[in-house]
Symmetry: C2
Subunit: 293 residues, 2 copies
């Protein structure tokens, strides 16, 4: 592209970041965390894809209120280069978005196919020739280190993903943390063989007892005193927080809504990127936090 870099020193090289968020519900904590990101906001463009539903209308209104506050009357250093809101025409795959139903295995495929289309629409319509990095950040990520972008970019990897956890209160009423995103993994022979025996339209899903893949999940690679810079190679990635060199997407890497090597959405993306010659890296000891529903 036109002399655009995506380097380990993005601030020094004035590299532009596109933060992409498919948004169904608005969480104030998500926005507050965005504002705290220490990467120069004038180099950041935010773009949102929001369903054309009643819930989406409400989320749009809440988001726009915060945007006005930040961009018009807030401190100048908080203001982002630009903010784009797109509304999606296609129906949400499920009427309900509550935790129990959303995670049911039989709903996963339809839900993640719809999410793939939302991600693709957002990506294809906002990526520009001068974008250096794309940060995928789900709307329910409510806490990250303020240096998230610099920390991830410093590794100079094509695709890099932190470990997504969730804070909760344990049975002793003590604050605790548990892994949340199980889509970042290293492949296993068992999963490969499961795939070979499947029909062409079947997909492998992670985190279900009746489909034991024996993949090595980044969620369980945490070393409590481990180095947050420790890297592991990954074959599948989750998309709750995911930094991608824009070049990888420009090459054609997208989120397959159809089974691609029996993988869809972000896991299919990692496989597609691999087919394009790009590898994925995980940081098991670098945590970001998902909202506790």
């Amino acid at each position: 592209m036109n002399n655009v870099t995506s380097s380990s020193n993005p601030v020094g090289n004035r590299e532009t970041i596109l933060i992409l968020t498919p948004l169904a519900r608005f969480y104030q904590e998500y926005w507050d965390n965005l504002l705290k990101l220490s990467y120069p906001h004038e180099l950041i463009t935010l773009a949102f894809m929001i369903p054309k539903s009643r819930e989406g209308n409400s989320a749009t209104a809440q988001l726009q209120e915060q945007i006005t506050k930040t961009q018009k009357s807030g401190p100048e250093k908080n203001r982002f280069a630009s903010i784009i809101i797109e509304r999606q025409d296609f129906d949400p795959p499920l009427a309900s978005q509550n935790e129990g139903e959303r995670h049911k295995m039989e709903n996963q495929k339809a839900r993640r196919a719809a999410m793939s289309r939302a991600r693709n629409s957002l990506l294809f319509t906002t990526l520009g020739p001068s974008t250096s990095w794309v940060l995928w950040l789900d709307s329910d990520i409510v806490e990250t280190p303020p240096d998230l972008i610099q920390d991830l970019a410093a590794h100079d990897k094509a695709i890099i993903v932190p470990n997504c956890f969730q804070r909760y209160t344990d049975k002793y009423k003590q604050p605790a943390e548990r892994p949340y995103d199980f889509n970042s993994w290293q492949d296993s022979e068992t999963a490969q063989k499961l795939g070979e025996q499947m029909g062409p339209d079947d997909i492998l899903l992670e985190g279900y007892a009746d489909m034991a893949t024996y993949r090595t999940l980044m969620a369980y690679m945490v070393d409590e005193d481990g180095d947050p810079q420790q890297e592991v190679p990954l074959d599948g990635v989750g998309g709750t927080a995911l930094l991608v060199k824009a070049e990888v997407h420009r090459d054609g890497a997208m989120f397959p809504p159809f089974p691609f090597y029996h993988l869809i959405e972000t896991e299919g993306f990692a496989k597609m990127a691999k087919r394009l010659g790009w590898s994925a890296t995980g940081l098991p000891n670098y945590r970001v936090y998902h909202y506790n529903e």
Copy 2:
């Protein structure tokens, strides 16, 4: 997307067209033909991807000269809404671009993989939320009907492709025409079986005697007195001239640089679109013309 339509009456609905051209050499006839397109130019954005090579520099200079002439001093009705030029970093796959070498089977895969990346970069960086249609038009297409866009859009198809021919002088020194693009076809059982026997990274190519696919090629479906509006369903498409509803691309359909069901580039695109639920249509009796090298 935000109330954008892509309908059979694009002029009436003021639908915007993005014309995408990967350009290695500049042909004056290509530009002259563009200027003659009767679709309202104020609804057309042109975008070019040009290699960062000496030949690319020369093509860029020639293109920019014509752009200046058209956009600055030409008649207002000729001026396009906007024109984008991007330069690609990656190396051209082959040093030579002459006809003989370019068409050698062993070079096809590398050449078309590089072309896929060029198309994807161009697409991902120029498609917007308000684009209705994408017209892929190769830089060596030197003659089309002036109503090309309206004629193709009138069919209201997700993906539609005219028949690409080449004018030449026959052995009796008479003007004649011959089919040029063999990438628009209907699949065959033979090709399917060939694919099944191939390694995962092998690709099926059309137009080579030592890989007889027995596909039905649109190039040979011409009826000399036939209706130019006659439609045929297609499984593979060529990209010399190709009209796509922007929604198809926004869903994620791109040009696979890797073997996708043993297909790459525009043929892989048709297959990927099919996996996303979109079909391709050909117009065997509607001709556009390729430069005669």
